[in-house]
């Protein structure tokens, strides 16, 4: 039997995926679909790097990764695509991830975007993608991601992990509110759609109410389970196995050996969801979520939490100062909490200063970069 040159090339192209092609629901046709797919990974932290690693190895043909941070030493405990050289050279995560993934699988095209994913650029980043995977570190951007997924009719795989716990579920937006014709190769009917993030959790928590990986810690193993669950759903979607996707919400605690699956199928019917029933994309339109502004000439950025969320909450400043004590020296009075980070430095090497008010407003001094300030806020206060 003689092979043409192109046939030989194709055989070689698929060879590395042999063990995956053996799976009856994937096969060669499923593998080819994967190679034609484009996945957007928002956030290049622990979840994002584990997802990107798995999808690049699985042969998802195009990966876009958006992240605003650079690699830090404390990332290496769980963020699988980075190494000590990246820390020493202060490489942006999106670039470091792209470089590593190119060495893992040169067949995959990787776009690394060093950017703050926000309402300003969200719609540009989802253009032409087939599935969106959540590798974020804050609630506000997740609600934005949910808005843009519903508007563009794109599958969104939510994932979150902190401490030893994690949660994941798939959003297949109801076509009722689709305003843009996404070109996703994943197709589903209204009957196959699933509730969106806001159907299940109508409001994001107020700033400071929830633990973050930087204040409460995180076990890499908890993140790994969630990232694997997200990837499994994405691969099922992209290979045309819609009937096999998990339609329930997965919640795990790897330390307490607890695993819960919640049937969320009824969440949309009974609730008047602002996002996927009414099409009110408050996060995407910049009406929810916080405002971030540079304070001119002061090398500082002010972050004001958004009007959305539950009733205005007064932050417990003493508790917040205690929570931040491992990261610097912080004191509070009746009006504000103030202090310096020991591990966050400005461009000229001075410690970054944080002033936090009871309504969640913060002034971060030592940067005039909005993304850097949002990153610090998300890490230490939680948004």
């Amino acid at each position: 039997m003689r092979y043409t040159e192109s046939a030989v090339r194709i055989v070689d192209e698929l060879q590395r995926y042999h063990r995956q092609i053996l799976l009856p629901d994937i096969g060669e046709s499923g593998q080819r679909r994967l190679l034609q797919s484009h996945a957007l990974i928002v956030g290049g932290g622990a979840l994002g790097t584990m997802i990107a690693d798995a999808l690049a190895r699985a042969g998802v043909g195009t990966l876009s990764i958006v992240d605003r941070d650079t690699v830090e030493l404390t990332n290496l405990q769980r963020q699988v695509l980075y190494d000590e050289d990246d820390v020493a050279q202060m490489i942006p995560k999106a670039e470091a991830a792209k470089n590593k993934l190119a060495r893992i699988n040169s067949q995959v095209v990787v776009h690394g975007h060093v950017d703050d994913f926000s309402a300003r650029n969200a719609e540009r980043y989802v253009e032409g993608v087939d599935v969106i995977l959540d590798g974020l570190d804050n609630f506000e951007t997740r609600y934005l991601l949910n808005d843009v997924a519903v508007k563009h009719g794109l599958p969104y795989v939510y994932g979150g992990a902190v401490g030893t716990t994690g949660m994941s579920f798939l959003v297949l937006p109801h076509p009722q509110c689709r305003a843009e014709t996404g070109r996703s190769l994943v197709r589903w009917s209204a009957a196959q759609s699933t509730p969106c993030l806001r159907c299940v959790f109508p409001e994001a928590p107020p700033p400071g109410a929830s633990p973050t990986c930087d204040t409460a810690g995180v076990l890499g193993a908890a993140v790994a389970i969630i990232a694997a669950h997200q990837c499994a759903q994405a691969i099922k979607l992209l290979t045309g196995n819609l009937d096999k996707v998990d339609r329930s919400l997965l919640s795990i605690d790897v330390w307490l050996n607890q695993q819960r699956t919640l049937d969320i199928s009824g969440a949309r019917d009974s609730d008047d969801c602002p996002c996927c029933v009414r099409g009110d994309w408050a996060y995407l339109q910049g009406r929810a979520g916080g405002a971030v502004t540079t304070l001119c000439g002061r090398d500082a950025v002010q972050i004001t939490p958004g009007p959305d969320g539950s009733q205005p909450k007064r932050l417990d400043l003493a508790a917040m100062a205690a929570k931040l004590s491992p990261h610097g020296s912080f004191t509070q009075n009746a009006y504000l909490m103030h202090g310096r980070f020991s591990n966050e430095r400005s461009a000229n090497g001075e410690p970054v200063e944080l002033t936090l008010f009871p309504d969640g407003r913060a002034i971060i001094k030592g940067t005039d970069d909005l993304g850097t300030a949002r990153s610090i806020y998300a890490k230490y206060i939680g948004a």
């Binding site: 992990a161 299940v200 919400l249 539950s310």
Partner: protein, 66 residues
């Protein structure tokens, strides 16, 4: 009455609502998904939904890190 919350049996006075239960666990400012006897109770109904003897309740809070 006795109910089960995340696998743990607890005793409650009568007329306890889902919202009361959320407050008991200090989760009022967290986004919570509550399932009772394998049926999700939407947030809009947390205030009026009364718990009954033997209910099996699962409460999960939205996880934000990653």
């Amino acid at each position: 009455m006795r109910i089960t919350v995340n696998g743990e049996s607890i005793g409650l006075e009568d007329r306890y609502t889902v919202l009361d239960l959320i407050e008991r666990y200090h989760l009022a400012d967290q986004p919570c998904a509550v399932e009772i006897n394998r049926q999700l109770v939407p947030k809009a109904h947390h205030r009026e939904h009364r718990l009954t003897e033997g209910d099996e309740v699962e409460i999960v809070t939205l996880v934000g890190g990653g």
